[in-house]
């Protein structure tokens, strides 16, 4: 069964998403560093949707769901904003970010470092960002 959360595109709700993810991962027998990694990657993807795709518009929403398919944990973010091709994104060079004194640009790097699968699926009137993390297939639920 998919666990599911819908929140407004307000950065204050990032903490709510993290709590939701931690609790659902615990239900899926995932904890410790692996849980922290997945929570971090999903936080980055959701912050990206809220800030860059919706400009933190409090009337827009995103939906987060998590489920397991055999040896992979999937988190899906359903977003009605314009598409952001995180699957095709070239990770930024850290040295360039430092030199440019930029604060942003590291989130995509984190997502690509942590997740094993990154897909963007275009639906009729929304996009689904699917982030997959391989886990021990012998983990019992």
């Amino acid at each position: 069964m998919k666990a599911y959360l819908k929140v407004r595109c307000n950065k204050e709700f990032l903490a709510t998403i993290r709590e939701f993810m931690k609790d659902r991962l615990k239900d899926l027998q995932v904890s410790g560093q692996l849980s922290n990694q997945i929570v971090l990657a999903v936080d980055e993807a959701c912050a990206n949707c809220m800030i860059h795709q919706h400009q933190c518009d409090n009337y827009s929403t995103i939906e987060v769901s998590i489920y397991r398919e055999e040896g992979t944990l999937y988190t899906e973010i359903k977003d009605t904003g314009k598409a952001f091709p995180i699957d095709e994104y070239e990770p930024n060079q850290i040295e360039e970010i430092v030199k440019a004194r930029r604060k942003g640009g590291l989130g995509i790097n984190l997502i690509h470092h942590i997740m094993d699968e990154i897909q963007v699926e275009e639906k009729r009137d929304y996009y689904v960002y699917r982030l997959g993390k391989r886990i021990d297939p012998n983990l019992r639920l």
């Binding site: 950065k11 204050e12 990032l14 903490a15 993290r18 560093q33 922290n36 990694q37 971090l40 936080d43 980055e44 912050a47 809220m50 800030i51 850290i94 970010i97 430092v98 030199k99 004194r101 930029r102 604060k103 942003g104 640009g105 590291l106 989130g107 790097n109 984190l110 470092h113 942590i114």
Partner: protein, 113 residues
């Protein structure tokens, strides 16, 4: 975000408390920018009470590195929790930012400043 401060002879120590995400990292970023604006180029940040850091929190630190270097200043971080340290190491930021080892005297990092 609550940020305690201690002014030392050669540097200032900041003690942020809570989570450093896209929403909450702005306060720390603004405080560091204010200090730099006032000419404080030696900054220590104790992360003992920071329970979570995202790329926005990491960006707070790396975005100020270049200007501190320009002024021969330094930023030293200490007391990273396991999950915070993981985020720094994952992107190799531990190679760019000075991170004090556990138990190290922070004064030593700034003694020639």
């Amino acid at each position: 975000m609550e940020i305690k401060e201690e002014i030392k002879q050669a540097y200032i120590s900041l003690f942020p408390c809570g989570e450093l995400d896209a929403n909450s990292s702005i306060d720390l970023d603004e405080r560091i920018a204010e200090l730099i604006e006032k000419g404080q180029y030696n900054i220590h940040v104790n992360l003992e009470d920071v329970t979570y850091i995202s790329s926005a929190g990491l960006g707070v630190f790396i975005s100020h590195l270049d200007i501190l270097n320009t002024h021969n200043g330094k930023m030293v971080l200490s007391n990273l929790t396991e999950s915070v340290e993981y985020a720094f190491n994952l992107l190799g930021l531990n190679q760019l930012i000075t991170i004090a080892k556990e138990g190290e005297e922070i004064d030593l990092y700034f003694e020639n400043e």
